[in-house]
Each structure stands twice: as structure tokens, then as C-alpha cells.
Symmetry: none
Subunit: 221 residues, 4 copies
DNA sequence: GATGAATGAGGGTTCATTCAT
DNA sequence: TATGAATGAACCCTCATTCAT
């Protein structure tokens, strides 16, 4: 899954004689991105200090501001990147494959994302909790995609491939359950008496359980 | 559902000769609590300024500090109150009543809380997202209660009243789905093309849908 | 030694039918005075909070301000009282008695004051350290008295009762050494491996040693 | 006498390619130190406002905090520096030189310090008056040194080079008298009708008088 | 007299951002 | 590019004092 960062736009379509700058520039931006994700995830937008991000990225505060426009812009960029990833993760494959295949893959991808990018998942949820003040301007296409997905589900229902119900709520519930394993990874581990980052076996187990639960809940046949 | 604030204990059953203080004191504390909930919900702990809380409560900053010890203490108190409420909301009735009754009531209570206290729900989730640094010291009893609940569910499974599965995950999923309608109320309304605060009819509809989904997911008979 | 407090002016010349107020009023003022002395001694004028004084006096802050005009006024009053005491303590008896008797008594009184009122001694020294901004307007008479004392010493020197030297410096040194046992009581005890408040025997020992040292230093015969 | 500040260690023996930072940094720190000494001396720790220090140093409050960690840390540093100086000033030279030489030099050094650094002397005394809450953790070595000094004096007494008496008290009295000329410089000038900062001649006179007084008091032969 | 409440000024400190070098 | 330094606004909180009851 392609992680896009603020530097992506500068990277594409450069001739073989790259200006030399771009290389390191992009690299540093990547480091900053990762640092920012960690700080934003645990401190929130307001609680994140540029000092903390700079420290974690191994830069000085002044240096950091050479690479970014502002803390808000950095935050916005990160959210945008996540939003881009959702398109892939939460996207629907060919409707004709049926819900068991399409939704199964979706759930698997979403769980994988929860396991591999819990911090980014949490930043996204935190933004939603606040009412998405930063992200709202970018949500229109998400709505369109979601409406399309709901339409697909409605078709499946009409075809008797799933229980009749509210398609949008089905999507909500898939989201809610899969997201839980990212947002509440700490608590989940605590309540399950497992390590924070489960091994491959445990992850498979969870994917299987979650899929079974959601399939039954939605009456996927 | 009893909302407990720092002053509740002083409010009950006082004769006409109230100590004189607690009347207004309690009232102001309530206003502060509500103001703080709104600000914490949308700005987070770090992003919430005492100025904003004071403004929303109609007080001066100095006045605010006459009533509270510190921003952190106020935040902690709010979290504690929520935790107290969870005990009632997420508590299990008599096991003998069976999962359909017990879990059904639980889901209904939880959804009602999501509808009536979305801000408090979100503050709680936001705290969890951060890894619960403030709340962790208070979570031990929560774990015990949850373990007990899981044991009850296991019994029901053994008795064939529910599908065999991981009881703890069942609890997770109930939490995830019901909490979604508080945490993501804004997005849910946006995607469903409804008003932010649905009417009674819509709420009933959601409770019914959610209950059906979760019952099927868990195979409740 | 008469301890004068802020209430003194209100006490004098009241008929037998005392207004009834005065009694308690004076008593409370005494309590406040003692509390203030303790707080001023350990925190200084700026560091002393009216809250701390009120607490130590068993009053509310509002109540305290009913009895005093301001923190500064309270502080000034305390300094004035100490200044008044110095007149007695550092006053010279009949010159004709000679330095051994007069200075010996003075040293004894001064050491007793250091032992019994270390806090007030320290408040005074702290005020001097700052350049006596509050006390300066009240120091004129002190200077006159000190000049007189120096003149007496000069006479004794002229009569061969003491070594010839600078009389003012003799007074300085008496002050410096005796005051040390109040101002540095904590350190003195620490370095001498004794308790903070020595017993009567130790006090006598110190008076004796100090007197011997000062007499030899000044060549008192 | 080496005044050590937080930056001294970085100042020595740097080639022409000075790190670029430390030059100005050290200079500003020196200015801050001096400003802080003046404010602390006249207002005390609590009474000193960072605003006042910043003003006196010609900086903004924010700028000041770029150079210091906190008001308390600045105060502590100043005290530590003084303590370091005391080691030199109040240190004993070779015992074999005898009390007349060793104590004479000590008194001379101590008086010089009183004349040249009266403000720092006063800050130290003010700290002692409060019971040395900040300095206490650093006083252990002072006690050891003082005990050693007392032992040396005891030896001298045993050898008949001084009057038999309590060695620790001799040290106390030397301290008390020499310190007086720093702590009470304002009052001393006032009572002696001299300028606050005496000329070299007057200083020599005072050193001579003080030495004579203390030698006679301790019976130094 | 006493109490709870209010107030206005200021306390120390942090921080995102900019600037000069 | 990178660094030390600066800046201005804000931040949380405290406090002496006053007021209404």
C-alpha cells in the first residue's frame, strides 16, 4: 500500500540527473512524517510540540520548519495520506465476486492496516472524534465512495446474498469493529492478557473471528 | 443514569438550612463540568484552554480556578465520572435471564448513552486512543468486571444460548459498534444524510438494527 | 520586654466598660502576629502568602483582612515592634557602671533575645539585607541612640577601661556576633552537632564564650 | 577569585574557531547572572520576578527563558557559585604557617569578598536565614571542611598559639564579623557616615580593625 | 464579625514560528 | 541548509484584596 508523503509530489518525473537535493530532502521528509505520526498519535494535534517532533526526527526545531510549512500543515498532510490509504483499504473489488469474497478481502485488508498502522489509524479516529475540523473539506469523495459501496451492498441484498438490512449500517459496523483493533490495541491487549503487538498467529485468529462475526451479523451467505 | 460530579455527594438530602455554600457551589460546578466536557471533547486535554472553558461557563479564568484545582484535575474528574457511568451502562444483569435479555438491555443502555452523552463518550475514547495515561491507574476494576462478564458469556455459550466463540471478542465488538454511534455521530449523520441528533424514531431504529446485527454476529438464540 | 502589636493603640485608655470587642480583637491580633512572624521568617515578605498566615492563625483569608490593613502593613508593624525591642535590648545602662557591667548585660540580653526570638531576629536581618526599604524611615532614632552608645564607649576608652579603637566598630562586632546565634541558629546547630534549640546549660555556655570573646576583642578591662 | 558560572567550563582555551555559540551565549549568561544577583539580593527568591531580571539584563522574558531553565535553577546556580567561592575564601592555608598568617589571610580574603561581592554575600545569608532550603543538599562538604578547619584551630590551641576556647565558635565569630560588612553594608555606611562603597583606604582600615579585634578575641599570638 | 465569591493584575513558563548568519 | 537567537502571544495558575450577604 502506497504511503504518500508530503514529498511525493517532488519526487515524480525527475530526470536521471536528479538535482541531488531531492533525494535527501525526500528522505528527511519521510523521517519527519514518521516522527510526527508518533507524536500526533500519543499527544494529539494541540499536545504535539514541534520540539518533540524535531527531537524524534533528529532535527532542530528551526530545521524542522525548513521542511514543513507549519504544524497544522504537517498534520493535514498526514491525515490526507491516511485518507488516500483508506481508498485502497476500504475499496470494493468487483461486485460480481460477491460479498463473501469482496467483504472478506476488505475486512482482511482493514485488519492488516490496523495491525500495521495503528498510530495512523488512531490519528484518524481522533480527528473524527473532534468532528473532523481539519478533514471535513476532504471528505466529499469519501462520501461518494461510501454511497457507491452501500449501493453495491444493497444489490447483494436484493440478490439474496446477504440479509436484508441497512447497507450503510453494515459498513459502519465493519468499520467500527475492524478499527477497534487499532484504536484500542492497548486496551485489547490488556483485557486479553496478550502482548501489545500480537504475533502472526494471533493476528490470523483475530481476522478469522472478526470476519466470522461480521459475516454472521450481516448475514453474508 | 446518575451523572456523578465532584459535588454530587454534597447535594443529596440536605434540609432547608443548606450549608449555604453548596447550593451555588454545586450549581457552578455543574456548569463548569458541562463547559469542560464540550471543550475537552473538541480540543482534547492539551488543546483545551482554561480560558475557553471559563468563557463557555461564563466565568473569568480566576473564578474558574476558584472552583477547580487544575485543568488536569478537572479532566480526571470527568473521566472518573464517565468510568462510573460505564459500570451501570455496561454492567451485566442477572445471568439467569439469558443473553437475549441481558445483552439486549446492555446494548440498549449503551446506545442510549451514546445518544445522550456523545461528548463524554468521545472524551473517553480519545483518552483510550492515547493509551489512557490518565485513566490507567483507575482501570483495574474495569478489567475485573470485564473478566466476569466474559465468564458469564462463556457460560451462556456452554449452555448453547450463544454461538461458541471468544467471549472477550464478543464484548469488544459490542463496545465497538455501540460506541461508534457516539464517537462518529458527526460522520454517521453525514453519511446517512440525517440530522446530527436523530429523533426518537431514528434512535429506536438504530438500536433495533444494532441489536439485530450484534445478536446475529454473536449467534444469540 | 514589651511586645507591642498593631492593637496596642486601640487598647490604651479604655474605661472599665471595655467595649467587649477590644478583648477578643486584641487576642486575635496577637495570634495573627505570631503566625505572620513565622511565615515572614521562613518565606520573606514577598514569599509570604496571606493564605499561609491566615491558615497558621486559624482564620480565613477574608477574616484576616478584617484585622489587618495589608500584608505590607502587617510586616511593617512587626518590624516596628522589633525595633522597639532593640531599644531595650541594645540599650545602654548607666555609663558609670563601666563596660564590663554595661556591655556584659547588653550581650546577655542580646543573646537571650537571639535564643527566644530567633524568628523576629531573622526578619529584621532579612530586612537589613535588602537595604531596609521598609524600615529606613524609622531608623533615624536608632542612629541617634547608636551614636550615643558610641560616645559612651569612646569615654570608656579615654578612661582606659577598654582598648583604644573605633567605638562604632565595637558595636558592629557585638551586634554581628550575638545576632549570628539567631540568624544562623540552624547552621550553628548543624555544625555544632546540637539540637536546634539548645538547653539552658548550652545557652549559658554560649553567652559565656561570646562574652569572653567580645571582651577580649574589645580589650574590656 | 574565580567566579564560576554555568558556562565557564565552555569558555576556557577555545581556538579561533569557537563553536560560534558559546561566545555570545556565555556573555549573555554573565549579564543574566549579574542582573539576577541584583534582583535576588534586594527582593529575595520569591520576590524576584523574572520580568525584573529580564528587564535588568535587557532581555525579554521569553528571551531570558532561552538561557535559563527556571528562576529556581538560576537561583540555585548563583548559590552554588557562591558556595564554590567560599571554598577558596574561607579555606585554610598550610596549618604550619600558624594562625596569625593563616587566619589573617583568611580574614583579609573574606573582607575583600564582602567588599567586592556584597550582593552575593547577602543572597547567601538570606538563604541561611530561611534555613537554607535550597542549599541544604549541597552543604555536606561545607561541614566537612569546617570540621577540618576546627581541628586545625584546636591544634593551634594545643600548641599555645591561640587562647584555649571552642574552635567552632572562633570560626563562627570570624564569619559573623566579616560577613557583617557585606550584609549590613548599607547600615554600616549610614552609621559611620561614609559612602556605601568605601575607598581603598577605608577598606584597609576596616580590615585592619577587624583583624585586630578577631585576633584579640581569639587570643592569637 | 464571618463567609463564600469575585476580581484584576501579575506570576513563571512554553511554544510555533521567524530571522540573521 | 543549518544554527543560535529572538519574538509575541498564549498558557495555567496564584494572589492580595474587596464585596455582598
Amino acid at each position: 500500500m502506497a504511503r504518500t508523503t508530503a514529498v511525493d509530489t517532488a519526487e515524480d518525473a525527475e530526470g536521471p540527473a536528479t538535482r541531488g537535493r531531492s533525494r535527501k530532502y525526500a528522505q528527511v521528509l519521510g523521517v519527519i512524517n514518521q516522527a510526527a505520526i508518533e507524536v500526533f498519535a500519543s499527544e494529539g494535534l494541540a499536545g504535539a510540540s514541534t520540539q518533540a517532533i524535531a527531537d524524534k526526527a533528529g532535527l532542530s526545531k528551526a530545521q524542522l520548519h525548513y521542511y514543513i510549512d507549519s504544524k497544522e500543515a504537517l498534520y493535514r498532510q498526514i491525515l490526507q495520506d491516511i485518507l488516500t490509504d483508506w481508498i485502497v483499504v476500504f475499496g470494493f473489488d468487483d461486485e460480481a465476486l460477491g460479498p463473501r469474497k469482496v467483504l472478506g478481502d476488505l475486512i482482511r485488508r482493514k485488519m492488516a492496516f490496523s495491525f500495521e498502522h495503528p498510530l495512523r489509524s488512531r490519528i484518524f479516529t481522533a480527528e473524527m472524534l473532534r468532528g473532523a475540523p481539519v478533514l471535513n473539506p476532504l471528505m466529499d469523495t469519501s462520501k461518494q465512495r461510501t454511497d457507491q459501496a452501500a449501493a453495491v451492498i444493497r444489490n447483494w441484498m436484493d440478490q439474496g446474498l446477504m440479509d436484508e438490512s441497512d447497507p450503510m449500517l453494515v459498513l459502519f459496523h465493519i468499520w467500527a469493529v475492524t478499527q477497534f483493533y487499532a484504536d484500542h490495541a492497548t486496551q485489547a491487549a490488556y483485557f486479553r492478557n496478550t502482548a501489545q503487538h500480537g504475533d502472526a498467529q494471533d493476528r490470523d485468529y483475530l481476522v478469522e473471528q472478526v470476519t466470522a462475526f461480521l459475516f454472521k451479523g450481516a448475514g453474508v451467505r
